[in-house]
C-alpha cells in the first residue's frame, strides 16, 4: 500500500473539441471565462459573514456540516437548494444561517416561511431565540396581512386559503423557505400550485425525504426550485425511470442524474457526522396500571354518561374533551364534572355522587407510579407533559409536598416568565411540568426523561414532546414513560396503536410521512368515536387493532420505499462526494 495521487480530468468547457476544431474565442471572452473561474474559486473559499455573530449566542451550537451547507447554498447554488439532510441534523439551523446571511448581506429583504401548522410556533421561536430575527405569524397580535410583514411565517394549510393565497401571490418575495417540503411533491395539489405561482428569487426546500413513492416526486420538487433543470416531465421519465410507475432508476443514467442533483440538493447523512455528533436512543416504558376501585368507578360512570349523550347526538367535540379530561387525573376529572353539570349533561344528584367518589381519591395511582419512577432515577431531571392545567397544578402540589423542586411551563406565561422557568429547570429544579402548548419550540437537551402523564391523541404531538429533549446536543439515551389505566381509551391507544407501530422510537421523518394529514381534531374524533360506539370490549379491541394494523402496514410500505429510493438516488451522494463527482 502506498500513497499516490489520483488525477481525474473532465472537460467541462469542451476544450479538447474546440482545439480539435480550431474554435477559438477572442481575448476578452477568454478573460471573462478566466475571471469567472477565479471568482468561483474565491467564492468557494469565502466565509459567511454571520457565523461569528450567530455563534456568540449561547443557545445555539453550529456544526461544520450546517455551516458548509449554508456556504454552498450561497456561494455555489445561487441561493436556492433542496436541503435534504437526514432527520435530526439541523436543517432548520441551516436555513436560519442562510436566511440571516441573505438578510444581513442585503441579498434578501423579505422572506416567507411555509411550515406545517404544528411547526409554525417552533420556527418563530427558534428564529427569535437563535438568530435574533422576529418573524410574524398569523396568530400574532400585530399581524395585519401577508403584504404588511417582511418576515413572515405561514402554515401550509393557511397559505392556500384563497384570500391569503392571493396576497402571497401578488408579492415579490426575495426568499421562500418551505419546511417539510415533501408535502408539496404532488403537482396537482393546491400547495404545489401556490408555490409554483409565487414570485421569488431564492427558494429553500427542506425535507429529509425528497422521494417517497416514485421519481416523479423528485421531479416535481426540482421543478419548484429550478424549473427545467431535469427537462420536461416526459424527457425525465424516459431518461431516468426504468419502469412505467417510475419506481426504479435507470442505472445507465444514475450518475448523470446524481450530477444534476448535486447542483441543487445538499444531503448530509448521520453516518457522515457521527465523528462529532453523538446520537442517542429513545427507550419507551409503557405502564398500563390497575386503577383503584374508586378510580375505576369514576371513569366508568362518566364514560357511560358520555356514551349516552353521544348516542343522543350531543356535540362530539365537546364530549371528546370530557373523555380526555377524565383520562388525565382526578383533578381534571373534577373540571370535567363541573363542565358536564354546567351544560346539563349531569343532574345535580349525579354530579354530587360523582364528586363524592372523586373526593375520596387523595392521590392518583398514576401519580404514585410517577413518584416511584422519579425515585428510581435518583436525581435525574424529568420533563412531565400533561394536556391540562388542572393536572399540572395537581402534580405540582403533590411533587412539591414530596420534596421535589418543580417548575411549571404553560401557554399562559409571558415570555420573561417562560425564560425564567427554563432557567430554573436548567439550573435548580429537578422537574418541569409542561403543557403541550407551553412546550412547543423549547429545547431541553439537558434533561433525558420525558413523561407522558396523559396521552395526546395526535401521534405527532408525541414527537413534539419527545423532540424537546431528544435532539442534537442530548448526551444520554432518552427515557420515555407513558402511563394509562387498563381498559381506558388511553390504554387502547397506547397498547394497540402507539406501541404497536413503535411510535415512541420512530424518527420524525417517518412519523411525518405516516401522519402528514393528521390533526388533533381528526385523530381525536376518530379514536373517540371508535371507543364510545363500541358495544363491548371485544369490538373495541378489534377496532383499535384494525387501525393499528393499517398504520403498521402503511409504515412498512413507507419505510421500505423511502429507504430503497435513498439508496438508489442518493447512494454515495453527499457533501464530501459531490466535489469528486463534479470532476
Amino acid at each position: 500500500m502506498s500513497d499516490s495521487i489520483d488525477i481525474k480530468f473532465t472537460d467541462r468547457s469542451n476544450v479538447k473539441n474546440k482545439l480539435r476544431k480550431l474554435e477559438f474565442t477572442d481575448k476578452n471572452t477568454f478573460d471573462l471565462t478566466i475571471a469567472a473561474f477565479e471568482l468561483l474559486s474565491e467564492m468557494k473559499k469565502s466565509k459567511l459573514s454571520v457565523i461569528s455573530s450567530i455563534q456568540s449566542n449561547k443557545s445555539i451550537e453550529l456544526y461544520d456540516h450546517q455551516i458548509f451547507a449554508a456556504m454552498k447554498v450561497k456561494n455555489e447554488f445561487g441561493g436556492s437548494a433542496i436541503l435534504a439532510d437526514e432527520v435530526g441534523l439541523g436543517k432548520t439551523i441551516e436555513a436560519g444561517i442562510i436566511l440571516k446571511e441573505f438578510l444581513i448581506s442585503g441579498l434578501a429583504k423579505n422572506i416567507l416561511i411555509l411550515a406545517p401548522p404544528s411547526l409554525v410556533y417552533q420556527w418563530q421561536d427558534e428564529l427569535e431565540s437563535k438568530f435574533s430575527l422576529h418573524f410574524t405569524q398569523k396568530d400574532d397580535s400585530d399581524y395585519k396581512d401577508p403584504a404588511s410583514h417582511d418576515l413572515l411565517i405561514f402554515s401550509h394549510s393557511s397559505a392556500v386559503y384563497p384570500t391569503a393565497a392571493n396576497f402571497l401571490k401578488k408579492r415579490n418575495w426575495d426568499m421562500i423557505i418551505v419546511d417539510e417540503a415533501h408535502s408539496m411533491k404532488n403537482s396537482s395539489t393546491m400547495k404545489h400550485k401556490l408555490l409554483k405561482e409565487m414570485n421569488r428569487k431564492f427558494t429553500l426546500l427542506l425535507t429529509a425525504t425528497p422521494i417517497q413513492n416514485n421519481l416523479g416526486e423528485l421531479y416535481n420538487m426540482v421543478e419548484l426550485l429550478k424549473p427545467g433543470t431535469l427537462g420536461t416531465f416526459s424527457e425525465f421519465k424516459i431518461r431516468y425511470a426504468d419502469d412505467k410507475q417510475m419506481r426504479t432508476l435507470n442505472p445507465f443514467f444514475k450518475d448523470e442524474l446524481q450530477k444534476k442533483l448535486s447542483k441543487i440538493i445538499i444531503r448530509t447523512t448521520r453516518q457522515q457526522v457521527k465523528k462529532y455528533i453523538k446520537f442517542t436512543d429513545r427507550i419507551a416504558f409503557t405502564r398500563i396500571l390497575k386503577p383503584t376501585d374508586d378510580e375505576r368507578k369514576l371513569y366508568d360512570k362518566i364514560t357511560d354518561k358520555v356514551r349516552e349523550h353521544y348516542e343522543n347526538g350531543f356535540e362530539v367535540l365537546y364530549l371528546m374533551i370530557i373523555q380526555r379530561l377524565i383520562s388525565s387525573s382526578t383533578e381534571s376529572t373534577k373540571r370535567a364534572l363541573f363542565k358536564m353539570k354546567k351544560s346539563e349533561l349531569l343532574s345535580s344528584e349525579e354530579y354530587d355522587e360523582l364528586m363524592e367518589i372523586a373526593a375520596r381519591i387523595t392521590i392518583d395511582t398514576k401519580t404514585t407510579e410517577l413518584k416511584n419512577t422519579i425515585e428510581e432515577q435518583n436525581d435525574s431531571k424529568f420533563l412531565i407533559f400533561t394536556e391540562w392545567r388542572a393536572t399540572q397544578e395537581y402534580l405540582e402540589r403533590v411533587l412539591n409536598d414530596a420534596g421535589y423542586s418543580v417548575t411549571l411551563f404553560h401557554g399562559e406565561l409571558n415570555l420573561s416568565q417562560k425564560a425564567e422557568s427554563i432557567e430554573r429547570f436548567r439550573n435548580d429544579a429537578q422537574i418541569m411540568i409542561s403543557t403541550s402548548a407551553g412546550g412547543e419550540g423549547q429545547n431541553f437537551q439537558f434533561c433525558s426523561n420525558v413523561v407522558n402523564y396523559d396521552l395526546p391523541w395526535n401521534p405527532m404531538k408525541i414527537e413534539q414532546r419527545v423532540g424537546r429533549v431528544h435532539r442534537i446536543g442530548q448526551k444520554n439515551d432518552v427515557n420515555i414513560y407513558n402511563y394509562a389505566y387498563e381498559k381506558t381509551i388511553d390504554a387502547y391507544i397506547l397498547e394497540l396503536l402507539y406501541t404497536k407501530i413503535k411510535l415512541f422510537t420512530m424518527s420524525l421523518g417517518h412519523l411525518d410521512l405516516l401522519f402528514e394529514d393528521v390533526t388533533d381534531e381528526k385523530t381525536g374524533t376518530h379514536f373517540f368515536k371508535e371507543y364510545i360506539s363500541s358495544k363491548d370490549q371485544n369490538e373495541l379491541e378489534n377496532r383499535f387493532s384494525t387501525v393499528g394494523k393499517n398504520w403498521n402496514n402503511r409504515k412498512k410500505e413507507l419505510v421500505n420505499a423511502v429507504e430503497e429510493f435513498n439508496q438508489e438516488v442518493f447512494d454515495n451522494f453527499s457533501l464530501s462526494t459531490i466535489e469528486e463527482k463534479n470532476v
Binding site: S13, V15, L19, F30, T33, M43, S105, N582
Partner: protein, 112 residues
C-alpha cells in the same frame, strides 16, 4: 470580501459589454437593457442592479454579490464560453501562433 466585490463588478460589467447590453449608470445604480437573444436566460428586459449593499437597501435595485441569481447566470454563461484563445505574441519574435487554454483539475489522494 472587497476583492470579491471587485471581481464581481468587473465580471458583470464585462459580461454585459460582451453581449452588447446597453447600460445606464447613475451613482452606482445600473440599468442594463438585455438584448433580445438573452432575455430568456435573464427572464427580464431590463435589469436594475447595484454592487453596493447600502444602495440596495434603500432602492429597488437588486444587489449583485455572491448568492445573487443574476450573478449565477453570468458565471454559468462565462464558463460556457470556453476557455481557449489563439494569438500571436507581440513581445516575442515567434513564427507560430500560441494557443492558450485554461483548465483545472481536482487532485485526490488515494491508496493503491
Amino acid at each position: 470580501m472587497s476583492e470579491i466585490k471587485n471581481f464581481v463588478n468587473e465580471l458583470v460589467l464585462g459580461y454585459f459589454s460582451k453581449i452588447n447590453a446597453s447600460v445606464h449608470e447613475n451613482n452606482g445604480l445600473y440599468e442594463f437593457t438585455v438584448p433580445d437573444n438573452f432575455k430568456k436566460i435573464f427572464r427580464d428586459d431590463v435589469l436594475k442592479i447595484t454592487f453596493d449593499e447600502n444602495l440596495s437597501k434603500f432602492t429597488n435595485y437588486e444587489l449583485v454579490s455572491p448568492g445573487n441569481p443574476i450573478l449565477s447566470v453570468i458565471l454559468n454563461e462565462c464558463i460556457k464560453f470556453g476557455p481557449a484563445v489563439i494569438g500571436r505574441p507581440t513581445s516575442h519574435d515567434l513564427e507560430s501562433p500560441i494557443i492558450r487554454f485554461y483548465f483545472y483539475a481536482w487532485f485526490k489522494f488515494c491508496d493503491i
